[in-house]
Symmetry: C2
Subunit: 609 residues, 2 copies
């Protein structure tokens, strides 16, 4: 392809609104243009790389037997009401009424659409497992779209959904997806951090996120210096820095030497810091107790303190019943923080938030700052595991300016539930190997997830098993953001002059730069182009009437992996240079062609290996 | 691909809502499934053919130098307001407000998006001509979506837009597109009727529609039995079946022998038929006069009768100024009908409609049925060309129960404008060769159109010409409906047993049907599959444990062009049959493979030639 015959309007200047490298380079290299905030058009050069990423994903999906389909982008609101997500998806979902007043959704994801299609076709266990996918347009109405296509409103996602008769079958597909995802990212030249959510304490349904390190990442990752443990802080666990008792019995025994519980006056003392100073001790001795409000709680609360009047409701017909609102006291060692995502998961709640001052006072009988698990009967107490090792603690005494000292878990209070709800921090110890944990910011490129029966149950999907009995299939979902993957490749592969494409996703393999596209130089350029094309190499020719400096700068900017400079003074030799190297070599034309074809093939083989 | 490893849930029954063959067969062959009214999902088999149509279009676009880009599907309402189409697009355009209250549109077409992108990049005449295209999701909020993907709400369109410094450049691209479209449809195995709008009387900007004959077509085509004249009835012209005078002068001379105009009483006579009976003459002697209301009239009406008080307004800032509403009397020979599309084009109006009875009475001073061009001063008279040859006609006398007889054009009245506004019918004579015209119903698959300055002007697109002067580019647009093309292929290529795919768009080239996929039969099947795949042939293997009859029926239904039956009794020979033939041949395996590869390659070559 001649540059004069395509459309690559490169920019010298960095657009003012582009703050991250990939956004800057995608604009400057004329890969994309902005149509509106968060809405981008891929120009010819960008589209070539975009399609290559898409095709790598497609090949790996096909290789594990996933079947591509093409559902509509605009889908009926009805199916979102069936799943219950019409209510829970929030304002990020773009809803639209058609001329007849019916509700539609511009798909942000497609669990509902796929499940509705499968529901109509599924009869027998013999049709399962079934894995379907699409690579299609998605829309999320981001309030603040930014960072170019890294967080746009409209984007392209590969999303796959699998349906199974049992957990083992789901797990086989889930594992195959995990391997396919690793191959996809490797083929794209990306270093991803696979973050497993089911390593450690969280257990339950499986989930793995594929992250890339990024300063502007919206996730905090917890990584181990010594092993490959990696987790999203929202779910990270760590090795206990305490010795938990084996039972309540053991806890009481451990507290044998502790003086009896004692009420102490703590006038004008409300924060842990003030209390530490007042009692001349450290935060680790305190049992911090926070009151949380949780929404849509699925956990069974019958028999929990203060919950006798709560009733479960279904937010939508056919949606699972939950408690619309419930309060919990969460007790945790004073130097630790409660992780609200882990807490919500523990309570099977859609969301948790700190209770208002008014609610705290109503539920604990004391102003904020004096809650504690001892004698607290108005709501269930959830104790973080760290509390179970505390044999001589301090905590609020449910009255203004009063605390308890010498508090022992199991002796002075017994929580309704013990769980791991602590926020893991840099410096904590790895749950797998005990190594030191550290933090990184990351962006999620992909996510694989065992959904279980959430959608198949609410949307009434059934099949007949081998005995002719009606069964509900279990389900997994697997997503990759195509745009975000492309932008992340540039984040990882660039230098101060521009993009440095991995061969697999480069818009072209080779760029030919004739110093002046004329006479013998033109002839040589055309000959090399034809010969490379014949051998399946994708060639861009800078046939513009520009100064060599301009051409070199553009070649570096758009990042084609191999560059050949054809100048009169070197003929019949030409200059071959790899984008990532500093030096170039003067080669005879036939030698250059052999060399170029070899480099393209070996780099592709390396990435695909 | 093994049938057991893909997802082809064929149906025995025809779904109740599928009334046309392509819809029925696409459902039965498991190419598509309905998610909601007008919203379809392509299943794996359907997607394969869909992609092949897409790729044929892509190859032909690339071959003429059009450049593929990928703009968003959801676009800001702002650009539609700039072009003025926010107001004129009507309810078929799906509009949506995002969470910030901003207007967006789910693209029904993309003149605005492309023009907005080009506007930002265009500086110099050196960048022109520029032709960009996309193959992307579109949405039209059809009130009554039907006929499957033939008229769905969401669909995929290839839409290209070209920008030029001058008309000759536009014409070159327009002609190249016309040739590319012919190649595309030929490669798809489709018989299209290219319908030129600028053949004949309409003239002006060029436009060509690519139609397929269809009983459920929403267009009426006028075709010539003797030459290749083809036009949409909305724009069709015919050879005059009268001798028009060369001038008003000549008209008056022609009327020399006509008795003077005479007022006659016609009590209780209102229709042309009643008048014919009453006056014992035929409809050709009457000057039928209809009062029309026209909206958004661009034509200059200053000086036109009754229009002195009309003022032009712009429906939107920057939109061209038009008269919001104006009335016209249209006079036409009594046996002919007014073509409202031609009338609207003549008046440069967005829409024309018959005036209400109240307006007729107000403007003509008489009830409906007595309008005529003689003495009519309250509104401009538009005479169809047929009227200019009338030397002794009858027409309404602008008063109840009164008509004029012996009316002569040019002597008794002079219209404000003469134009061709008649509806051409079967039996009329070809404007090109005089042959007999006939009618067909047709569906539009593609359309190429010289837009001129409509969008570039309203959206302020400019470039600097060779002299450094600011200029506005001229523009063309070129669309093809991918889904509709696919459905039309099935409409043209099927029999009572199912689809009969042309090789180029068949989901697979060959289907292997082992009678029982086991033992030597399985071995032979696998060997043939591997060898065909090695030679680039796409093979589907019916490895299901079904009766041969079921397998044969499904193979016919899904329409794979070549079928090989492998049965124990014939081994080492196999049965090779073309879907479109009745007979099969028993061939040795190696012979069969050679034969199959040859047939695939020759059929592809034939379609691509």
């Amino acid at each position: 392809m001649k540059i004069s015959e395509t459309f690559i309007p490169t920019l010298r200047e960095v657009p003012a609104d582009a703050v991250i490298v990939s956004h800057q380079l995608m604009m400057r290299a004329a890969m994309i243009r902005k149509l509106a905030n968060g809405l981008f058009a891929y120009l010819p050069l960008g589209l070539r790389s975009f399609r290559k990423v898409e095709n790598i994903i497609r090949e790996e999906m096909d290789a594990i037997g996933a079947l591509e389909i093409k559902p509509p982008v605009v889908v009926p609101g009805e199916i979102w009401k069936e799943s219950g997500r019409w209510e829970t998806m929030g304002e990020g979902m773009l809803r639209v009424k058609n001329r007849l007043g019916n509700d539609f959704v511009v798909s942000p994801t497609a669990e509902e659409a796929f499940t509705a299609l499968v529901r109509d076709e599924l009869n027998s266990y013999r049709q399962l497992p079934l894995t379907l996918y699409q690579i299609n347009t998605k829309y999320r109405d981001e309030i603040r779209p930014r960072y170019g296509v890294m967080r746009g409103r409209e984007f392209t996602m590969k999303d796959a959904y699998s349906y199974h008769t049992d957990d083992e079958s789901l797990d086989r597909t889930y594992q195959a997806m995990g391997r396919a995802y690793r191959r996809i990212f490797k083929r794209c030249g990306l270093t991803v951090i696979p973050v497993r959510a089911d390593t450690g304490a969280m257990g339950g349904t499986g989930s793995e996120e594929f992250m890339v390190e990024s300063e502007i990442g919206d996730n905090t990752l917890i990584l181990c210096k010594d092993c490959d443990y990696a987790a999203n802080v929202e779910k990270a666990a760590c090795k206990a820095d305490f010795v938990a008792p084996a039972s309540l019995e053991a806890a009481r025994t451990a507290a044998a030497a502790t003086p009896p519980i004692e009420k102490i006056e703590t006038p004008s003392v409300r924060t842990i810091e003030e209390l530490c100073a007042f009692l001349k001790t450290d935060a680790k001795s305190f049992i911090k107790t926070l009151i949380y409000k949780a929404l849509n709680v699925e956990l069974d609360l019958s028999g929990a303190p203060g919950c006798s009047k709560l009733e479960k409701h279904a937010p939508a017909p056919d949606a699972p019943k939950t408690y619309p609102e419930a309060f919990f006291a969460v007790a945790i060692r004073g130097d630790l923080d409660v992780n609200e995502t882990k807490l919500a998961a523990t309570l099977k709640a859609s969301e948790v938030m700190l209770a208002s001052d008014v609610d705290v006072e109503r539920l604990t009988g004391a102003p904020v700052g004096f809650a504690g698990p001892v004698g607290l009967t108005g709501l269930p107490v959830v104790a973080d595991e760290s509390v179970t090792a505390m044999t001589d603690g301090v905590t609020g005494a449910l009255a203004k300016d009063l605390h308890y000292a010498h508090v022992a878990y199991g002796r002075d209070f017994t929580p309704w539930m013990v769980a791991d709800v602590r926020t893991v921090k840099a410096g904590d110890r790895c749950v797998l190997c005990g190594g030191e944990l550290y933090e990184k910011k990351g962006n999620e490129l992909g996510h694989i997830f065992k959904l279980g029966y959430k959608y198949t149950k609410s949307m009434n999907v059934t099949y007949l098993d081998v005995d002719g009995k009606t069964q509900i299939p279990t389900m997994g979902c697997y997503g990759i953001g195509v745009d975000r993957t492309l932008a992340s490749i540039i984040e990882e592969h660039h230098d101060q002059d521009g993009i440095v494409w991995p061969m697999s996703v480069a818009p072209y393999h080779v760029i030919l730069v004739p110093i002046k596209y004329d006479g013998a130089v033109k002839e040589t350029t055309d000959r090399i182009e034809a010969e490379l094309a014949r051998q399946g190499i994708e060639v861009l020719v800078d046939d513009r009437d520009e100064r060599p400096g301009v051409k070199f700068k553009d070649a570096d900017l758009i990042g084609i992996p191999l560059r050949v400079v054809i100048g009169e003074k070197n003929l019949p030799k030409v200059e071959v240079k790899r984008r990532k190297d500093k030096d170039n070599r003067l080669l005879e034309i036939s030698e250059a062609i052999t060399e170029l074809v070899g480099m393209v093939k070996s780099e592709l083989a390396e990435l695909n290996s």
